[in-house]
């Protein structure tokens, strides 16, 4: 775990992620300017750090209703504005980027942040960026696998010799600068199905598992498949961290939490995904066995601890700001996390 800068003795890490969406607030129908949204995201990271949160990450989406296409640049501003919190992408679409350039960016980010940068590499759920950035969608899987392998090779070796299908070979290529401790934690983003988790496992790569909703036990199969595949691939699962990522919202009561969050998720998903979130499924989100962390602080503590028991994961990251969530609500959530949720989670999961 050391290689990934995680010390399980300190308890499970708690993080925040944003997709960098830029959506109207459904209560008012109004949308803040993109400039304001970017500054809000930077403030969000600063406030998360002040609340004692371990990790903050920003995603990359190249389509309407998103603001952080240049996520590495946003992360750089966050690096400068913070001093302790770990920072990462969630995720970097490695398929449509040059791994050399991505590594240069994130190694630089690691130097600026004094060793706090990580990369989470994903494949993108929407595919407009293939046209925009000049790649062929027919190579969706192959592009990811090849570029992800190259990214990891660069991480392990300062001098790289490599050849592949989608870019010119590298001959004794030196990729600079190098990160603070020689290498970066690089994770594979997994959409929640066992098949995708197994790819991460076979390669011995830490897994970032995203989940929308449903029974936590359902995702246990994905986690088990990941660890089994890791073992089959000759890796020690005990040395491979797992992170989970999903919706989070805390309020005084679960009913208030549902009320305040639902319109943002439903309307936001309609715009970004082409279909809303059914109320029936959302209402089940407060159940102790549901993976969505929605409810009162005490309910959320119990949910997260239950999930920790089921998955044995090292990090949980929360998405709070989706769908034009006002900053005031975000601040209220950060306060509840900092004062009630985080201390309880650390208390019950720390080994010392």
């Amino acid at each position: 775990m050391e290689k990934y800068r995680i010390n399980p003795d300190n308890g499970m890490e708690f993080g925040i992620y944003t997709l960098g969406d830029h959506l109207p607030n459904p209560a008012t129908g109004e949308r803040i300017s993109v400039q304001e949204r970017l500054h809000d995201i930077i403030d969000y990271a600063v406030l998360a750090e002040q609340a004692g949160i371990d990790f903050f990450s920003v995603g990359e989406s190249h389509q309407e209703y998103f603001a952080t296409q240049a996520h590495a640049v946003v992360l750089s501003a966050i690096a400068q504005a913070t001093s302790k919190i770990k920072i990462a992408s969630s995720s970097t679409i490695i398929s449509t980027s040059d791994p050399v350039r991505v590594y240069e960016n994130f190694a630089t980010l690691d130097l600026i942040s004094n060793g706090r940068a990580e990369i989470v590499a994903g494949r993108a759920s929407r595919v407009g960026l293939f046209d925009l950035l000049g790649y062929d969608l027919h190579n969706y899987e192959d592009l990811f696998e090849e570029k992800f392998d190259l990214l990891r090779l660069i991480n392990e070796n300062e001098i790289v010799n490599w050849s592949g299908e989608f870019r010119k070979p590298l001959r004794d290529a030196q990729v600079l600068p190098r990160p603070v401790n020689g290498s970066l934690p690089i994770w594979r983003a997994v959409g929640g199905t066992p098949a995708s988790a197994m790819k991460a496992g076979f390669a011995g790569v830490p897994m970032f598992m995203a989940h929308l909703g449903g029974a936590a036990s359902q995702f246990k199969r994905t986690v088990d498949s990941y660890r089994e595949a890791a073992r089959a691939g000759g890796h020690d699962p005990a040395q491979l961290p797992i992170a989970t990522a999903g919706f989070f919202y805390a309020a005084e009561t679960s009913q208030e939490a549902l009320k305040e969050l639902y319109p943002h998720i439903n309307e936001g998903m309609k715009k970004t995904n082409g279909g809303g979130f059914p109320k029936q499924l959302f209402a089940q989100g407060v159940d102790p066995h549901n993976i969505m962390n929605i409810g009162s602080p005490q309910q959320i503590i119990e949910k997260i601890l239950y999930q920790h028991e089921v998955f044995g994961h090292q990090r949980y990251i929360a998405q709070i700001d989706f769908g034009g969530m006002p900053m005031d609500n975000i601040k209220k959530n950060l306060e509840l996390i900092g004062t009630e949720i985080l201390p309880a989670i650390k208390k019950y999961t720390a080994k010392k």
Partner: protein, 188 residues
């Protein structure tokens, strides 16, 4: 209420004629219902490659978005080689897995032989059920002899299509009402 009539073939006229007749029956009886005909013969559709339907452009994007915005869909299908046409299956492949959630789907089938009567039950309904459609269980099965010069001449078929039109609208109204009541009860 938005009802889309989907004529699921790139060739032939009978399915289009029957779907058009059903939409006409809907408009006549329910003037407030907005009806749209999508005849796949009029559009140049791409094959599904798994992307989100919002990411398709041109005709493919137009057709998928129009279907997704509908409250109810009247699917008309001919029978090719004892099954639905590839053009219609491609529509299903282009849409998300939950595409028909909170939508009513009704069916009419035009066939060259009565031997194909079970095709809708054994091949079309399972797809619609998987995609979470609320189905009008009774579909209308129409044979070649029921048409003459691009018109339906069998009055029994006309009556059945009128009932299909009515059932489609009534079921959509009913499920919308049930859903609204259920959603209001959640209090969030």
């Amino acid at each position: 209420m938005k009802v889309v009539g989907l004529s699921g073939s790139q060739i032939g006229s009978k399915t289009r004629v029957a779907v058009t007749a059903t939409l006409k029956a809907i408009s006549e009886k329910y003037p407030d219902v907005e009806t749209t005909l999508i005849d796949l013969a009029d559009y140049k559709m791409e094959f599904s490659d798994g992307r989100n339907y919002l990411d398709y452009e041109g005709d493919t994007g137009f057709v998928t978005k129009t279907i997704m915005e509908a409250d109810a869909i009247v699917i008309g299908t001919p029978i090719f080689q004892a099954s639905i046409p590839a053009a219609l299956k491609n529509i299903f492949d282009l849409l998300p897995v939950n595409a028909f959630r909170d939508k009513v789907v009704s069916m009419l089938v035009t066939a060259g032989s009565a031997k194909h009567y079970m095709v809708a039950d054994t091949q079309l309904k399972p797809i619609l059920a998987y995609m979470k459609a609320q189905m009008v269980q009774t579909f209308v099965f129409i044979l070649e002899e029921d048409f003459y010069q691009k018109e339906i001449i069998n009055h029994d078929v006309i009556f059945r299509l009128e009932r299909l039109a009515e059932d489609t609208v009534v079921l959509t109204e009913t499920f919308t009402k049930i859903r609204e009541e259920k959603e209001a009860a959640y209090d969030f």
